[in-house]
Every structure is written in C-alpha cells, then in structure tokens.
C-alpha cells in the first residue's frame, strides 16, 4: 500500500473499499472484548473461522472489540439485520452458520426477557441496547481492530481529511470550543480551553497525549474503545495535534492488556503506512509522530503530571498544580492531555459540526457518555447514553435492575475517589455538575450498583485501602492522612469503633483534601464524605454498638 499523498487519493481508496464490499453478504462479528475473552470467545471465533472456511466467499467472520453487553458474552452479531446471539458456545457455531446462510434466526440463542419471556432478535430491540445512543462504541461490531480498511469503510479519517483540507487549525479549535466538549477523564474541564492554552503557550515544541491509563476500579469503557476501535482515538489525536500545532503525540495506556497493546501498535503502524501519520500527512504539510507508552502498574500514574513524568522515564510523582501541564508538561514543554473518550469525540465534532454535537446532551454537559455499568446489576457492560439521561434509565431500563431480586441501596460513581448516593436519588440526571453537587461525581464513568446487603462502612474501608496502596508517597498529607483514615475505618469494621471517630475522620478528610498535591489525595476522602452525607446512621450505629451504648 503506497502512502496517500492527498485527501483525494484517500477518498478514492475508500470508494474502492466500499465498492468491493457487498452489504448483503452475511457477516458474523464475534466479540473479543475483555469480558467475552474471559468467557473464551477466542474458541467461538476459531470455530466460526473453521466452519466458514469451506464456504468460500459466502460468509465473512470478523473478530471485533467490545460490543457492550458484557454480561451475556460471548457476544455474536450477524449482519445484515444486526441479529444478536448471546452466550454463544463453540458447539452453537454450525447451527448459526446454517441459519445465517438460509437467512434464518437461531431462536434459542437470541435475547429472552427474564420476566416475560419475550424475545428480541435485532440489536435495536434488545432492552440493553435500545435505550442507548451509541455514537462512539456503535462501530465496534463493524470493525476488526486490526484492519484500518474496516475503519475507513465506516467513514473513518474523513474528519481528518476535512480538518486538513478545508479548515485552518484555528477553525478546528473553534469548532471544538463551540461544541463545549468537556473532558471525559473525570474533571469535565472544557477540552477546547485546554487545547487553546497549549496552542498559545510560547514554546514551539508541543505535545499531545492520550490518557488511556484507566486505573479507576470498575471502569472499563476506555479500554473497550481503545482495543475495539483504536483508529478513532488516533484520528481525534491527529486532528487535535493539527489544531494545537503539536509535532509529537503519546498514547499512554495499560501494560496488562496484551490485546490492547497489539491493536494500538498495529493501528499506529497502519496509519503510518497509509500516510495518516508521519511526515506531510496527506500532502497537507502537517507532520506528526506518535509513540506508545505504558503504565507500569500504579494508579497515580494516570494523574496528568505523574503520567508525563512517567513518559520521561522518571517515577510518576505528581507536581503541584500551579504549574499547568498544558504550559509546561513533558520535558517542560506545553503538553495537552485528554482522556481516550474525549479524543474519540473529536472526529464526529469535526465531521458533523458543533451544532449537531450540542443538540445532544444536557444544558451544560454535551454529547454522550460511556458508562461502565457493573456491581450488583443484572446487565453489566459498556453503555453509551446522552448526557442528562436519568440514572433510572441506566439502572433499570438498560441495567435491568439489581441482581438476585434484591433492592437497590446505593449507586456509586467514579471509583475510589467518587461517591455513593442513596437509591432514592435515582431520578437525578447524568451530568458533570449535577452529580458533583450530589457528591457522586461521574469521574471517568464507572457506575456501580450496590444492593441491600452492602456494608457501607466496609465499602469505604475497601476504597481507602485501595488508595493507600496506590499513593506515590511523595506528599505527607496523602501518604499519612489516608493511612490514618484507613486505620480508623478498619477499626470500625472490626467492631472496635470509638466515640469521636466520625469527627476525627471528618477532620482528616478536610486536611488531606486541602493539603495534598494531586487529585489522588485531594479526593481520597470523597467517598467517605458522601457516606457521611447519606449513610451516617450506619456508621453511628456501628460505633454505638462497639462502645456498648444503646443505638
């Protein structure tokens, strides 16, 4: 494949790919996402490949990234028609192939409502999918992440073509600012303003970074995107680099997911081969190199300044925040860092415009949000809904409610630095500011359901234990403050709570929050704060029982 020298050459090649594809030809997409892989979807995919081989050109088998409905993996989707088969085993393969060739459906493998028994054959009828707006993850079943042509076939890199050939860097930046795209990594900071700061920083050398660390416990949507559709994030990154004027990009991600590494490496190599990376991209005069870096197993390396230290080859210790990384980041050069999902939003904003983007979502939070739905929920998986969607839709319509017929006690957002809200706040909309006010900021988007049996004191202890182990130890308030909180919480869970423990914890939350260097320490007390706001009686009762006082 020669390097494309111009946008026209790329578009001609895209037309050629599409002309060579027959939309009526049956295609079987086998999910190889993290959960399906854990249920041995590889064996299912191998069985399909073996069974399809003698059929020649009659049927296509594609191994894809995460489809979303992880609970019911291994997932298989057959096109045309988006027929969804769940919990597919290698032994089901001959039947699916035979039915597909005849244009029929294997009824026993389609979705069946656990209450009514009603069946749903097509993706848009399955309750888990039908309440979603899958702008980002919807392409996953259509793409073999190892094949750039699959991404081109769904319109990939058209936004890059548009940006490079029809827009100036300033126009690209304006569009992203107008779209009011807010960072998906946790803070919800407007991406456009951040880009502008780096763009306007005086240094000539500038960097752009994808934060794909995703260390938040029970968050798995970023790896679903990065593993399942790496080119989408790369396209966003290249467009961002063009707007900002960066010459080099970094993708920073997890070291413990071999498939993710393979797909991203391959995507970078293919993009380079096609002339979408490297010198003079599509003949535009704009050049960009992208390097892949890995975390080495510690949570704090997902913090932006720590992550940049790590890219330099230094220990990932955060820096005080008065030095902004967007002005002085990697090797003290202006460095713009955004989360995987933020970058993934960029191509569609450029293709369809800021006006379209702002028509989706709530007043102050635009677009869709990927959510990792898990915990005591019936249907766990990766979910994408417009911002502003009520939590009830997520929990009941999509999630199917609480497992084992139990009652919902709390909804937890944002992992170890997030917060828990009680079940009666379930009508709150999914919104950066609204959820923060309630004390459960959406963070990166890990949503956990907790059932009636959940011990909230134990949850707080567990989260504090996690953070204590992940602190880098550079600043004392974080290192020692969390340790003290953990000791008190452990004591309470062991039935040895003392009067005054709650006040002492409140004190520690405040000091650690004010005096720590980075977000890890600053927000380490947030889950506990939300517990004291909504579940204080549970703590008081435990302490009272321990000190022998009447409840």
């Amino acid at each position: 494949m020669p390097r494309f020298q111009s946008a026209a050459e790329l578009e001609a090649y895209r037309a050629q790919i599409l002309a060579g594809r027959n939309p009526a030809k049956p295609c079987i997409a086998v999910c190889a996402g993290a959960a399906c892989d854990g249920m041995d979807s590889a064996a299912v995919a191998a069985a399909f490949v073996a069974a399809a081989a003698p059929l020649g050109d009659k049927i296509e088998v594609r191994t894809t990234g995460c489809h979303g409905y992880c609970e019911k993996g291994p997932n298989v989707v057959v096109t045309p028609g988006d027929i969804c088969y769940f919990e597919v085993q290698p032994t089901d393969v001959p039947e699916i192939i035979a039915a597909t060739l005849k244009g029929e459906v294997v009824e026993r493998l389609v979705y069946k409502d656990p209450n009514t028994g009603a069946k749903a054959v097509h993706m848009h009828e399955v309750p888990f999918y039908k309440h979603q707006t899958r702008l980002l993850i919807g392409d996953n079943p259509k793409i073999d992440p190892m094949r750039i042509d699959d991404y081109l076939a769904v319109g990939g890199y058209a936004a890059l073509v548009k940006a490079l050939s029809e827009m100036t860097p300033d126009q690209v930046l304006d569009e992203v600012k107008k779209a009011n795209l807010r960072g998906r990594g946790g803070g919800g900071f407007p991406a456009g303003s951040k880009w502008e700061t780096t763009k306007n920083a005086p240094e000539k050398t500038k960097y752009v970074i994808v934060n794909g660390h995703e260390g938040e416990s029970a968050a798995f949507m970023d790896r679903a995107m990065l593993t399942g559709n790496p080119h989408k994030i790369l396209e966003g990154l290249i467009i961002g680099a063009y707007a900002i004027g960066a010459q080099k990009g970094f993708m920073y991600t997890r070291h413990d997911m071999p498939l993710l590494e393979k797909h991203v490496r391959n995507a970078l190599a293919q993009a380079k081969e096609y002339g979408l990376l490297g010198e003079n991209i599509l003949g535009s005069g704009f050049s960009l190199e992208v390097e892949l870096h890995f975390d080495v197993g510690i949570f704090v390396s997902g913090e932006s300044s720590a992550l940049m230290r790590s890219i330099e080859g230094n220990p990932p210790e955060p820096r005080p925040k008065y030095i902004r990384t967007s002005v002085s980041g990697i090797w003290d050069k202006p460095s713009n860092l955004n989360n995987v999902e933020t970058w993934a939003n960029v191509p569609q904003i450029i293709s369809k415009g800021a006006e379209w983007f702002t028509s989706i979502g709530s007043e102050k939070s635009k677009g869709t949000k990927l959510i990792s739905l898990s915990g005591n929920v019936v249907n766990s998986g990766v979910v994408e809904v417009p911002m502003g969607t009520p939590l009830r839709t997520l929990v009941f319509d999509i999630g199917g409610g609480v497992r084992d017929g139990k009652t919902l006690k709390a909804i937890h957002f944002g992992g170890a630095m997030g917060g828990s809200i009680p079940a009666d706040l379930i009508d709150a909309p999914l919104d950066f500011d609204g959820m923060s006010k309630l004390g459960a900021p959406i963070g990166a988007g890990g949503l956990l359901l907790m059932d009636e049996d959940t011990d909230m004191v134990e949850v707080a202890r567990y989260l504090m234990d996690f953070l204590t182990k992940e602190s880098c130890g550079k600043c004392v308030p974080c290192r020692e403050g969390m340790k003290q909180m953990l000791q008190i919480l452990t004591r309470i869970t062991e039935g040895k709570g003392k009067q005054g423990d709650i006040e002492r914890l409140e004190d520690l939350i405040q000091v650690t929050g004010v005096a720590s260097l980075c977000a890890l320490g600053k927000t380490s007390g947030d889950p506990l704060k939300s517990m004291f706001r909504y579940f204080k009686p549970e703590y008081e009762a435990r302490i009272a029982a321990a000190s022998g006082e009447p409840k």
């Binding site: 892989d37 249920m39 416990s217 997911m257 080859g313 230094n314 990792s372 567990y462 996690f466």
Partner: protein, 157 residues
C-alpha cells in the same frame, strides 16, 4: 548470571539492553521488557541496565521498587492474580482470595519454595462483568467460586 536467569532469556536481556543503550529516557521501557522476558529483575541485570542506559543505579532501583509490575525476587512458574477491583470485591473476591491462599499456602505477594505459584491481588483488570475473577498466567477465569478456583489451581503443576 546463570543462576539468576535461564539460558534462553539471558540472550533476550542482552538484546533489550543493547536496544536501549545510551537512552536514559527509555529506562522504564527496558525494565518492562526485561520483566516480561525474565519475570523478575536480578540486581546484576539492573546494574547492567544502569551502565548501558547511563543512569545512576539508584534511579533504576527507585523505578524498579516503585512500580508494582516489577519484581525484585524470582516469581513462580504460574502467576495467579485475584482481581481486587470494586465489582469483584462486591461479588465476593475476598472469599476467592481466601481460598486461593488456602490452596497455595501463600499470602498475596508471596511465592512458594517450589516456585510453583506466585499469588497477587489488586488492580482491576476491567472484566468486571464476569467477576469475581481469577487470572492465571494471563488466562482469565470468570465467575469464579472458591470451589471452582481450587479445581483451576490444581490444573497448574
């Protein structure tokens, strides 16, 4: 050297060190690759990395002891990871870890004298939908119960 690492991987280590010679900023890359090839970082190897990449030995040790991925002691033939993520925790990971500790006779972080198992607990691996989860040598075993875990472990010799 031969006591520290198998013959085959000595060559790998040499190759990795050569690849990054004179590149101090590639320290983490070099150590990760050696960790993956050799499963632990012997002191002599770290010294050679320090010399070749032209970084102080102290800095190599700082990185190697800070990140959880690196091991400064030899690991067992099979690395057993009990996911400690939040969903696995809510779904009973503690009981699973107890069982693993009972079967192997090891606490998290330990390796047995026969070098059969190294047990680890921690980092969420993002397969939350099939938690609680046991991962042995990178292979995921989803929806584990303590009984099933015993059978899984017994299949590794």
């Amino acid at each position: 050297m031969s006591k520290m690492c198998e013959k085959a991987c000595e060559k790998d280590i040499d190759g990795i060190i050569e690849k990054y010679r004179g590149q101090p900023s590639s320290l983490i890359h070099a150590l990760v690759e050696i960790q993956h090839a050799n499963h632990w970082l012997p002191r002599e190897v770290m010294q050679r990395v320090a010399d070749a990449l032209e970084v102080p030995f102290g800095q190599v040790l700082q990185i190697a002891s800070f990140y959880k991925t690196f091991s400064l002691t030899p690991k067992g033939r099979h690395e057993v990871h009990v996911c400690g993520g939040m969903t696995c925790h809510l779904r009973g990971a503690a009981k699973l870890l107890e069982k693993v500790e009972e079967v192997t006779g090891l606490k998290a972080g330990e390796t047995d004298a026969e070098s059969r198992f190294t047990v680890e607990s921690g980092a969420c691996l993002g397969s939350c939908s099939i938690g609680p989860e046991l991962i042995v040598d990178g292979k995921h075993y989803g929806r584990m119960t303590p009984d099933k875990a015993e059978a899984v472990l017994n299949s590794y010799k």
